[in-house]
Structure formats: C-alpha cells, structure tokens
C-alpha cells in the first residue's frame, strides 16, 4: 500500500509542476492554449492518482463511491455546460461563480474535518488553518455569489449602502474572529462551528453589497486570491501539499491582479472595500461639459477621415461591450486594414468588468491579437496616429488625470489627446464613473459623433465601404 501512496505523491508533484509550467506558457498568446492544456493534463493525472490510491486502500465505502461518482458527474456536467454556453461578456460572472464553488468546497473540507468524532483531539496546527479556511472559504462563497449576481444584474449593481452597514461588518468580523478562537479552543463544539460558518457567510454578503459595479475587476481579483488561499488552508488541514501549492499559485495570481486593477483605477484596496466615491454602475446622462466648445461631427465625415488615414488607434471601453458592438468594430478594423491602413487597439487595464476582459471580447470578434496593445506599449504611439477612435471609454482617456487636484489625478490613462485627430463615439456628454468632465471632448482636435456605439459603428462601416470600394 505504501508504494501506491508514494507513487501518488510523485504524480501529485508532477501535477504541481504542470500547473507552474502551464502558467509559465501563458506569457504569450501563441503558447497560452498549450499551457492551459498542460495544466489540465496535470489535473487529470492528479485526480486519477487519487482515485487509484483510494481504490487500492479500499478507503471509500460503497455509499462513498456512489456519492462521489454522482456528485462528480453533476458538478462536471454543470461546469461543462456553463463553460460551453456562457457569453464572453458574461465571463466575469462565470469566474465569480467558479470562485464561489472553489471557496465553498475548500470551506467544506475544514467543516467536515471538525465534525469528525475525533475532532476534540485535533492540534492547533490543524484547527488554526481550519478556522482560516472556513472564514476565507465562506466569505468567498457568499461574496462571489453576490458579485456574480451584481454582474448578472440579479442583484443591484449600484453600491447597496444601509445605515449601520460598517458597524454590522465590524460586528460580524468580531463574531467570526471570536468563534474562530472558540473553534481552536474547542474543536468539537458544533455551536462554535455553526457560528463561525454563519458569521463568515454573512460577512461575505455585507462586504460585497456596498461595492459598485465599476469596482468589480478589483473585487473579482481579490475573491480569486481568497479562493486560492482558502484552498491552501484546506491543504494545511488535510496535510495535502498539492492543495497548498495550487492554492498558493492562485493566491499569488489573484493578489497580483488585485494590485494591478486597483492601481489602474487609481483606488486603494481599502478604499474600494470601505466604499468610496461614485462607484455606481449607471453613468449619469446629465450635465454638459463646462467651458470649451464641443465639435459634433457626422458619420460620413468620420468615415472620410478614417479612409484617408495611414494609422488608426481604436480605444474601446466597457460601453462598447455593453452595446454588444465589438463585432461591428472588428469589421470596421478589418475593412480599414484591407485598405492598407494600420489599425491597433489600445486596451486600458480596466476596460471591461474583469482584468483583460476587453481583449477576450475583441478576440471573440476575430481581432488578431498582435493588434491588441497594452497601455504602456501603445501610449508612445499616439502622436503618430492620424485618428484615435474612442468607443465607449471615458475616464481612462481624460487628460485631467495628469494634473493634480481632481478625482482621477494620477490615474494611468491612454494618451489619446496626443493623436493627430480624435473621434469619440458617445451618446451624450454624460460623465464617467469619476463624475467629472472629460477634457478630451472639448479639445479642438476632437470630433464628437453623438450616437449609440452599435449604430454609430454600423454607419461608419457602411460609409467607409463606399469610400474604399
């Protein structure tokens, strides 16, 4: 028996190596798919090794096998179905859902361990990580479900703030902190365990509810880091190194993305969690830009400008995805490219509802990835662009960010104002999340095409086709 277990340990080590190498291969779009497949192969080997071990030890009862096989079939079918059917615009919800189930499963590992008859004798090196596992896992479970609900529009995506919300959060934190200490002291107390689970679940809800839809990229990344940490804690509880390694990898990934997103939004993480300025999802459609003239242009003029350009940089924002106009945009790009015009897409890190979301939406619309440029890569190129076409992006193009003394000061922006000419497709002069005027719109080089993104791009496409035909 021991030799089977040793063999399984080596397989699990191999799986952990596959995860690391798989993530390593993700450093380029050409290799990324192979990386994910390598990671999946490692995972398959690990699961098979665990099955072989449990069979050879005869550790699982017949009922246990029935439970395992049915549950695995139910879970795998649900996972596969949603993965195949989900719309790319709904990816953030799906990732949130997977965060929820991962965190929930991790919390259940610790709960089960504490419910065992011998739980009273568990040492602190098991009960402390078990307490942490339950707190992090349960907070992630309920928090991710709320986040997914907000993204899906089932739960109000505006910040839901209620009187005494922060006091309630603090009280809940004290309750789960206290019950965690109680669980460590008395691992066999079902009351302590129940209090811990319920307080942590409630905290997840009250933590995410007050956070607005626009801050979701940060929240999803953070919950991803939480899930990883919860799985690692589950590894501590069960003494299972593969869980610890995988959990640490995911924790690191979520941590890095959280930091990147918060920086790109010019927000600190505590500021987002505690609720900050206008983080609502609805863009107020009122308020014209103060000072400076706005130049409105017609689709035909813009099409002419594009048709005679040598180089065009497109700046897509979430408004594009909200209008489901990424296919029209990609088609316009293709027509211009076919006419010999260089087209590139400038992607701000927070364009979309999760890190990198806009790239996936454009890839789905068949935009070749060499045209998708990161902010640092494209910013020096704007002065050489004949036309910068802004669709559905607002605050991330506002030159006011370079000055002190306004809500977006210091926020990294795309240097759209440095292009030779600028066209903005927008329905009205409404504000972005920061609630301030965008100075780009009153720039003399800027023409405003006031229309819906989908209709505007369709009109542009039709007009450009007549010019280049």
């Amino acid at each position: 028996m021991a030799s089977v277990e040793t063999a399984m340990r080596y397989v699990l080590l191999g799986a952990a190596a596959c995860f690391v190498l798989g993530l390593h291969l993700m450093n380029h779009p050409a290799r990324a798919r192979r990386g994910n497949q390598l990671s999946a192969a490692g995972m398959t080997a690990a699961v098979l090794a665990a099955v072989v071990l449990l069979v050879s030890e005869g550790a699982i009862t017949t009922t246990g096998w029935i439970v395992f096989v049915t549950a695995a079939a139910v879970g795998a079918t649900a996972g596969l179905y949603t993965a195949r059917r989900v719309q790319m615009t709904a990816m953030p919800q799906l990732v949130s859902l997977f965060n929820a189930v991962g965190g929930g499963a991790a919390a259940l590992l610790a709960v089960t361990d504490l419910l065992h008859p011998g739980a009273a004798a568990l040492p602190a090196r098991v009960t402390v990580p078990a307490g942490l596992d339950i707190i992090i896992g349960a907070v992630t479970f309920s928090g991710s479900l709320i986040a997914a609900g907000k993204l899906q529009g089932v739960v109000a995506s505006r910040p839901v703030v209620f009187r005494g919300g922060r006091a309630a959060n603090l009280a809940l934190a004290l309750v789960f902190g206290g019950s965690a200490a109680w669980v460590v002291a008395r691992p066999d107390s079902p009351v302590a365990l129940a209090a811990l689970v319920l307080a942590a679940l409630a905290f997840g809800v009250t933590m995410v509810l007050p956070i607005g839809g626009a801050d979701m990229p940060v929240v999803i990344s953070m919950l991803n880091a939480f899930t990883g940490t919860a799985v690692a804690m589950g590894g501590f509880v069960l003494g299972e190194p593969s869980l610890i390694v995988a959990g640490a990898l995911v924790g690191a990934s979520g941590g890095i993305l959280t930091k990147l997103m918060a920086d790109a939004m010019n927000r600190s993480i505590p500021n987002i969690i505690l609720g900050g300025f206008g983080t609502g999802d609805e863009t107020p459609a009122v308020g014209a830009a103060g000072g400076g003239q706005v130049r409105a242009v017609a689709a035909d003029d813009v099409a002419l400008q594009l048709a005679y350009a040598g180089r065009v940089i497109v700046v897509p924002g979430y408004g594009l995805a909200a209008a489901q106009a990424q296919h029209e945009l990609a088609e316009l790009g293709n027509v211009l490219e076919a006419h010999g015009i260089t087209v590139e897409y400038a992607i701000h890190p927070v364009a979309g509802r999760m890190p990198g979301h806009m790239n996936v939406l454009l890839a789905e619309a068949k935009v070749p990835y060499p045209q998708l440029k990161e902010m640092d890569e494209i910013n020096p190129e704007f002065p050489q662009a004949d036309v910068a076409l802004v669709v559905g992006a607002n605050d991330v193009t506002n030159p006011a960010a370079r000055r002190r003394g306004n809500p977006i000061s210091g926020m990294p922006i795309l240097d759209v104002d440095r292009a030779k000419s600028i066209v903005v497709i927008k329905r009205s002069m409404g504000h972005g999340y920061a609630g301030i005027d965008n100075e780009l719109y009153t720039d003399p080089k800027t023409g405003m095409l006031f229309t819906d993104a989908k209709q505007g791009l369709a009109a542009l496409l039709a007009a450009v086709r007549t010019f280049v035909a």
């Binding site: 690391v20 993530l23 390593h24 993700m26 779009p29 050409a30 990324a32 798919r33 990671s39 999946a40 995972m43 690990a46 699961v47 665990a50 009862t61 246990g64 439970v67 395992f68 549950a71 879970g75 795998a76 649900a78 596969l80 993965a83 989900v86 790319m88 990816m91 997977f98 991962g102 929930g104 991790a106 590992l109 089960t112 899930t227 690692a232 589950g234 590894g235 069960l238 003494g239 190194p241 869980l243 610890i244 390694v245 995988a246 995911v250 924790g251 690191a252 990934s253 979520g254 890095i256 076919a338 890190p349 890190p355 996936v360 890839a363 068949k366 070749p368 990835y369 060499p370 990161e374």
Partner: protein
C-alpha cells in the same frame, strides 16, 4: 497523511513566490484567461473533496462530501473548458485573410 507544519509553510511560501514570479510575466492581454485558468487550478480542491468522501461515515458526512465533490468538479471541468474556449479565440491573423493583407510590424 501527515505533513508537519514547517514543511507545509515552506511549501506554501515557495508556492507563493513561484506564483508571483511566473504570473507577473503574463501580459495583460491574457489576464482574463489567466484568471479563469488559475480558477481551474484551485479546482484541485476536488482531491481534498475525495479525501473527505473517503472519511465520511454518516449522512451528514456524505451530504457535505457530495457538495464538496460537486463544487470541486464544476470548478475544475468548467474552469479548464472555458479557458480553452477563450484561448482558442486568440489568433495571430485573420483566418481566411490572404497572407500580408493586414501587414503589421511584428508578425
């Protein structure tokens, strides 16, 4: 299975450091697939769920094991499937377009 605390902490810390090192090299273009791929990796929790199924002996134990296995399986299968679906959409050039039509600097 036993694992002493120091070894467990060592594995955790080294795992974090390797994670930071590898993931900071992923371009922001791929951050969504990175996150869903990492999501699939934490589906390893399925192995933990199998271990608790093995230890289950009563109805409550089986019920919790069922939930944990179902969650874990959904996480792992869905995570890898959707990541693969996304990554296959990232193409270097337009399919069907003649070579050189959309010529760029760094092809």
């Amino acid at each position: 299975m036993s694992l002493d605390l120091l070894t467990a902490v060592t594995v955790f810390v080294l795992g974090l450091l390797v994670g930071f090192e590898v993931i900071s090299k992923v371009p922001s273009t791929l951050h969504t697939p990175l996150m869903s791929g990492a999501n699939a990796i934490h589906g390893i929790v399925l192995i933990g769920a199998m271990l608790i199924t093995a230890a289950a002996r009563d109805t409550v134990g089986y019920a919790l094991a069922f939930a944990a296995v179902a969650f874990g399986a959904m996480n792992v299968v869905g995570g890898y499937a959707v990541t693969d679906r996304m990554l296959q959409m990232f193409k270097a050039r337009l399919s069907g377009a003649p070579e050189g039509v959309n010529s760029h600097g760094e092809r």
